[in-house]
Symmetry: D4
Subunit: 232 residues, 8 copies
Amino acid sequence: MPHHPDLPPPSEFARLDMARRERTGFGETIYCPGKTNNCLLAILRHFQAADEPVLATRCTPEQAAYVTAQGVPADYDARSRTLVSQWAKMPPLAGRIAVCTGGAADGSVAEEAARTAEFFGAEVERFYDVGVAGIHRLLSQLEAIRQADVVIAVAGMEGALGSGIAGLVEAPVIAVPTSVGYGANFQGLAPLLAMLNSCAEGLTVVNIDNGFGAAAAACRMLRIRERHTDEA
Amino acid sequence: MPHHPDLPPPSEFARLDMARRERTGFGETIYCPGKTNNCLLAILRHFQAADEPVLATRCTPEQAAYVTAQGVPADYDARSRTLVSQWAKMPPLAGRIAVCTGGAADGSVAEEAARTAEFFGAEVERFYDVGVAGIHRLLSQLEAIRQADVVIAVAGMEGALGSGIAGLVEAPVIAVPTSVGYGANFQGLAPLLAMLNSCAEGLTVVNIDNGFGAAAAACRMLRIRERHTDEA
Amino acid sequence: MPHHPDLPPPSEFARLDMARRERTGFGETIYCPGKTNNCLLAILRHFQAADEPVLATRCTPEQAAYVTAQGVPADYDARSRTLVSQWAKMPPLAGRIAVCTGGAADGSVAEEAARTAEFFGAEVERFYDVGVAGIHRLLSQLEAIRQADVVIAVAGMEGALGSGIAGLVEAPVIAVPTSVGYGANFQGLAPLLAMLNSCAEGLTVVNIDNGFGAAAAACRMLRIRERHTDEA
Amino acid sequence: MPHHPDLPPPSEFARLDMARRERTGFGETIYCPGKTNNCLLAILRHFQAADEPVLATRCTPEQAAYVTAQGVPADYDARSRTLVSQWAKMPPLAGRIAVCTGGAADGSVAEEAARTAEFFGAEVERFYDVGVAGIHRLLSQLEAIRQADVVIAVAGMEGALGSGIAGLVEAPVIAVPTSVGYGANFQGLAPLLAMLNSCAEGLTVVNIDNGFGAAAAACRMLRIRERHTDEA
Amino acid sequence: MPHHPDLPPPSEFARLDMARRERTGFGETIYCPGKTNNCLLAILRHFQAADEPVLATRCTPEQAAYVTAQGVPADYDARSRTLVSQWAKMPPLAGRIAVCTGGAADGSVAEEAARTAEFFGAEVERFYDVGVAGIHRLLSQLEAIRQADVVIAVAGMEGALGSGIAGLVEAPVIAVPTSVGYGANFQGLAPLLAMLNSCAEGLTVVNIDNGFGAAAAACRMLRIRERHTDEA
Amino acid sequence: MPHHPDLPPPSEFARLDMARRERTGFGETIYCPGKTNNCLLAILRHFQAADEPVLATRCTPEQAAYVTAQGVPADYDARSRTLVSQWAKMPPLAGRIAVCTGGAADGSVAEEAARTAEFFGAEVERFYDVGVAGIHRLLSQLEAIRQADVVIAVAGMEGALGSGIAGLVEAPVIAVPTSVGYGANFQGLAPLLAMLNSCAEGLTVVNIDNGFGAAAAACRMLRIRERHTDEA
Amino acid sequence: MPHHPDLPPPSEFARLDMARRERTGFGETIYCPGKTNNCLLAILRHFQAADEPVLATRCTPEQAAYVTAQGVPADYDARSRTLVSQWAKMPPLAGRIAVCTGGAADGSVAEEAARTAEFFGAEVERFYDVGVAGIHRLLSQLEAIRQADVVIAVAGMEGALGSGIAGLVEAPVIAVPTSVGYGANFQGLAPLLAMLNSCAEGLTVVNIDNGFGAAAAACRMLRIRERHTDEA
Amino acid sequence: MPHHPDLPPPSEFARLDMARRERTGFGETIYCPGKTNNCLLAILRHFQAADEPVLATRCTPEQAAYVTAQGVPADYDARSRTLVSQWAKMPPLAGRIAVCTGGAADGSVAEEAARTAEFFGAEVERFYDVGVAGIHRLLSQLEAIRQADVVIAVAGMEGALGSGIAGLVEAPVIAVPTSVGYGANFQGLAPLLAMLNSCAEGLTVVNIDNGFGAAAAACRMLRIRERHTDEA
């Protein structure tokens, strides 16, 4: 499929990295902030022409509306601001990821994580609103969470969810601080520091609001299993 | 008992505030850092002469050794760095204070809180090493903690203890962040921010490592009861 | 009363915690930021159906207009951004809370504290604009403030009000830093640090602009009295 | 083996958590800072009596000398400040961990990671001094690093090692910022922020200088494989 | 050419420094933020009347539209927000500057650098989107970058580009952190600190997003050559 | 008096500025940190030879002992770490400066201010330990403080003294934050921010612990009067 | 003049402090942020009725338009956002204040200082755009600046103007950091820290962008002279 | 010359990079912190055996004494903590570097810069103690400073020296903030921020106290000239 005559060729914006899947195992993703509508459209069409699946993150409703109006077949989710190509899919990735949140307001970051992991081929189960201030909510879901191979714990405010879960499960736990909160939360600094200082062993942390990064890390972990299944 | 002839009169160091007990209900306390041995000795003798009970905080072993060697009757506890006068006591204060810690390393701050509260006349029960990374330790002590009128939650690292307890009890919970930790703990900043951002309702916070302040606040709260008992 | 057919059931947004009043003594509250109009409406109707009183905080005028236009009986106060249900009330809580402010601009945070305390059943008296830069204003109100069982001191700028009051009264004092100020105020950091470092004994602090949390803490304190009245 | 008569029973210091291995899969570890020599000795003997393997971290040479002089059979490594019990071992954990450093000065943190992983039963390969300022050093080791199931990237200064590796391998990469550097390094803040902001997908981060935590996280990841091997 | 009668004389806004080119070798530049449209117009006309070339930075599209609508002959580039006078040019400056970026989103800062350097008379070659997370992109351009006399490395996120390049080339490298990123990027603080802490020798740094300053520094460096050519 | 043969001439260390008194009205001062004993000795002898009065600040007891043992006639005060030459004096400066402190621990900074002002020829009155947590102490001294032409308010902890005084007097008030405190004091950051954000009008601030700078500023202010007395 | 019937009495907003002029020498001022139009109007009318001069700061154009449209006689300056009552004036204050700026963009803060000083009765001379990056601009104005009794130095960016002037004049210098700049300026933190760390003796500092405070401080200083003129 | 039999081969500590001179033009340097005496000795002997010149930075007097006592021929300078090999020299580098300091206390960082540049073959002229608080000192040296091809401006406190010089010379100016100062200097943060925010065009900055890095950058700049001389 040729480029739209009015669009600049993608090489003018960015050196697209079509061989990345081979090198690191990840499908292609686009970080939308700062990209013009036309630039985003051209990149999407480039991948569509190559029949490569692609995920766009931090995509505004306006950007999504523009590219779908131009006929790009894509599924957009406003809460997580993710847009997923419909022309191709990543192969399934064995294993299950639990995505948990401390409170309802952490949902958009959690959905970015969940939808990213699904795009990369993983199976995801959501456990929302299980923060430690009401510990019974977490305990009542514990058995189900323990079934997961990897747990992503998304929390703002004091960010205690990661520690709470990591003390209760054997699986790797990836903590995602969110900018949910106010005052001395300092846009996510409070939960970020809390998570980095967890006294639970073996908790790892990604950037504030970085649901995408947590999912990418979780999928790297799931591939450990795949790799050895292949070996066997 | 007259001042030692070699000692400067206390008025030279600081305007001692002998009427404070009347105004705010607190007995006298001395913050030791920056005070010379002789200065501390003179102040203690001043209160001894007035038969006023007094508590010295952040008192080094050297300071304590010096004043007791000079014959000041006082009880020194090295872990909490507190020195309590033995010539007089504050009247008892009805109610019970639970002092909890997240980990063993928070003990010196917790002891400062506990011994201060005891000096002010309160009854104290200690619940140490009940941090949320091993939530079963906290849950197993919960019924006993619920008996307290006020709870002091002392924790370093990610500081999640305050939220954990405040979500489980009805009593006021005072959180004390400690400087226990390293790296991105930033000398207690991480648990301080976590505690200020707690999603548990009605948690209050004092300065990093401020066991003394937490105990003083707890005693102010206990006096609410006393005040109305007096009324009745 | 059944859910509106167009509204998602509340379980989709958040695990509502209907037993919290039993466990911690607090009525239900909703933190509005990040909630859609429909989500807020569904939660309110859920509580209305259960005849449970509920308080919504950080509620924008638009959110309030939407839910009241849909027939939810609620009292909205724009200054404090609080919305209080009109179908049920919390039982009265014995004792009096003084809410003080340093300057006129701290009023919205102070009102959040005052209205929250009133929602929880407490009696509130307001002492606004009594900051320490004009100490005579504070001194002239001192006798009345001393009548309170708990004092909430709300101040931005240099945040000296908490120390000023705590040095003059026996009751517990809860300091609330506000983001009122500019430049090196750093959105409330200056008064927050000042309050944490108060040399007045037994001052406790909540998050910047957290009038709600201060009121919740004050009510926990008032219950100390109630608890022992029940005992007697 | 009975407790030494002069030693306090461990229950006085801390609630030892002998069931943790079952719950989270980790063997016991002791964080030494703030513990007295006798306290450390008592805890070690407690585990020795139970024939449980144990790892002590941040153990000073003085602490190590004391406990070994008292006859505790343990292997101490001064560079990483780790002390490993000699009476029992954790079972082996399938999979290999690569521990890489940016510069020679990051060695003590890297050794803490490597020795911790070895204590937990994992096989470790070390790749030291492969920082990105001399990218040829990293590239020359790349094939060997790609053999690992998990990579730990330890770096101070500008902390670019994590990004560099994560862009080149498929395995999970755990970045450990170190406090190596000066000036605007701010005790590890610079590499911490750099690692959190990596544009490489799926990098996770632990606290500054937290070699122990990185190893614990790596072992959680290795267990994903074990779990499914068991299943099969 | 006289001032427009409705415009205030430039001396009312600022002491224009018409002799600066002589003293420091730089042509005139205008920093637009905070200037009214009329103020900007008056300054531009002042230079036009003197036939002096001038560069306006951080110029909004609105400002540019206003002054060009008033007939000022100028070339405006929206991406870099730079406006360049068309009535006169700086003399050419021997030597070549390479402007590199880590990611596509750093383009506006890079263009400010490139256009500034071109305004000052230098030859510029652009190497965009060569960040270290895909090191092959940088390596494939290395020979071309090595031809430059000075390299400007523009990067947000973790800011590793500067170190990556400085370890591979002999020329001076000027690193420009950008505010591209989110969360713990803290508006460019993360790449700023990373660049200041580079372990590559002899990297220098300018302010966040300061493409202009990097270009000015690069031109100072190019003049070293000119100076000695003149000598010879 | 000739230089000691073993000492390097002062011109090797620093360009001494013997004409400064003429230009800015200040006598000579030496900032001791980083200076070797011999370097300090040489500078002092240089001024002694010129019969110029000189003040050395941040002078350690060891430095003071060394230079006085070498026969330099100087008065050293260990609390304020100031050393004042005895061979000459600055002319008296009309007006009075009040130096106030919040607590006893602020004394060393206050003494640096007081002794500096006395060195510059001013009359100083000390009001120590009058902090706002015991407002009656300040009020009882108020009439005397009001006699001063300039007030220096030295305080650590929450730093409220400056605001307290500035709301009560007409004279210029210079606030000096001190590093007295712990935890969230952050080495004087808390009182520094509080003082900068004072709601009292016309408070000015100097650096943390900078008693010297406050005195220098106060003396600049006193010279306003002198200047116009000269005129008259 | 009675209150407008529709307006709430001022006592509802704030405890107006009509006796402040007597106590501290300052006329009345209103800080506008957070005040409704009606609230501002009521306060202004209150002072008008008492024939007291009043200054409103940080007054938006909308606020100004509203109150003047309601017939309040006042002079508004949009650049400095100050509104000055026209019904009464403060008595003149002997002495002259020089207001200097580093760059043209600091003008709004400088004008707030200048107009505030004029409101308080002082004579002001403006020296704008004399920053140290072009030191000849400052040196050419030096003789005129030296005529002032007090100098206010307003600067953003690196904030070097205060040091530059304080090293050249005898008068008190008050430095005002501004939030002019970008990137690592951090909204005025950079010049604030620079000014606090000035190596020029006796520089004092006010809050970022606080032109009002600088003028108030300058007027306190001018009164030193007046006080002694009265005495004589 | 063979390795000492007791010493570990250097390959055990770090991958030495003997080809760096070819790649980046720099001779070898050793960063001493964290290296044991024996490790440092082994590395030095390695270079001595290869007859490669080498510079060791941040070398303590103890480290220097150890290696010279072992017979390594090296010149140690205690002020700058640099140790320079005596067995070989870098070839001379055409051009002159001016190293300037703001105050005497910046001398150790300046000497690190000067001795590093001399090690790399450049000619250096020192201009110490020419800070802007006494601008006449800088102006009196200006003609000599203007002779340099590159200027290094070393300053602590408010860090204004870089701006001051960059506004007066044509050459590239590299600013080095130092940690000289106290209080709100925050270990060099204040001059670092000031230098990054300089309004002088084309100032570049290196890390706090990084005299080595400034010299390395200056030498990269001097090579621009050499490169084109070679061409010619």
